[in-house]
Amino acid sequence: MAQFRVAAPRTLDEAFSLLPIQDRDVKLVAGGTDVLIHIRAGKSAPKRLVLLSKISELDDDIRVTDTGIRIGALARLSDVVRHPVVLARFTALAEAAAQIGSEQIRNRGTVCGNVANASPAGDTLPPLYVFDAVVNLIGPNGRRAVPIAAFVQAPGRTDLAAGELIESIVCPFPPDGAGSGYIKLARRAGIDISTVGAAAMVCDADTVRLALGAVGPTPIRPLAAEPLLGAGLRDDEAFDRGITAAAEATTPISDIRASRDYRLAMVQVMAREAIRLSQQRSTSKDRVQA
């Protein structure tokens, strides 16, 4: 007797006809690096898996458009790591993907799977928050587009309705000259999941975006702190206040990886470093003159 049954639909319509009445019973599989591990660990016991890999309408492209990049449902983490436009314009995303698991995991795991998994420590999430990514969903009733911060709702919970799937994720180009970076704190480089993650983007002399991972139920974009951090690019005292405000927006917990207090201390260090790194990478004329 098989543990679960697997369906490999060839078209979206076929997939929709197989999709959940009750989502505990059916699981979509992209790379399977989360789903299959969760099943093995007894964290979930779906009766049926529906593979996305053979669906003709889905693709593994990372496409550069006039307005940004579009990452297809099946695009692998390792393709994001190597993509020249991602590296140049969305550096923090390439850097985050490069730090997920191992080469073997990145060769199977997808960006969209990392997002749909909605782990508070999912490494691609903070950069996608910083780049104002939009998640394109498709379902039997049509398409809709949801901003990343609204899509990710709680650990393991997203805005996906029964029967829907992620068709792609798009990121608009950041302003010219912007620099970005992702820093991950983990017990061990590679393989290990993040204790704290920080993504930042800096452009012009006064614009900072910041997103923090693994310090709350979802990644946190401390919007209220961003103007202070922006002003802080030229004013150390404002920068310190911005960092404090960013840390106050987080709600870390204690778990096997770290205590709440350690996370609260480290999130400030990580945020500082991510912003400094992004600033070094930005090529804004204003900053150079300042």
């Binding site: 049954r5 197989l18 080469e103 073997q104 995991i105």
Partner: protein, 165 residues
Amino acid sequence: MTADTFDITFTLNGLRKSIAVRTDAMLAEVLRENLGLLGTKVSCNEGECGACTVLIDGRTANSCIVLALEVDGCAVTTIEGVAVGGVLHPIQESFIEEGAVHCGYCTPGMILSTKALLDHNPDPTTGEVRKALEGNLCRCTGYNRILKAVSRAAEKLRPTPGAGE
């Protein structure tokens, strides 16, 4: 469609194979138990150690967490496909010459990860080698010998200046 078994056809070490697999079977299990290729090892069975590494379309994967039916239509290389006509591959020679093999449990995975690296990047930096092998754990030899074996293999595989071209 959702029957308990599924027919797959794929290229295994250069030869076409058709086989019926249980839909919930992992590739590692099919290679070892259905196809008798015991070179692929299974250790952690959860994607952490790399003992089960194979190449799927030239890229490394942990075969313990890949559904066998996902390789339908793909090309799979296992350690059995690395030596050609009974002649060891330069990477295999280098592992022996540098003493990078003790119990050997990690070795097939190490060699396949090395092959994937050198196929795409003939002259990797030590940093690049470490990154490429970060998903392959060894409990025995210490990694220095493995790193040496990889650079020796890279040297052997690089066309010598003046020769060829």
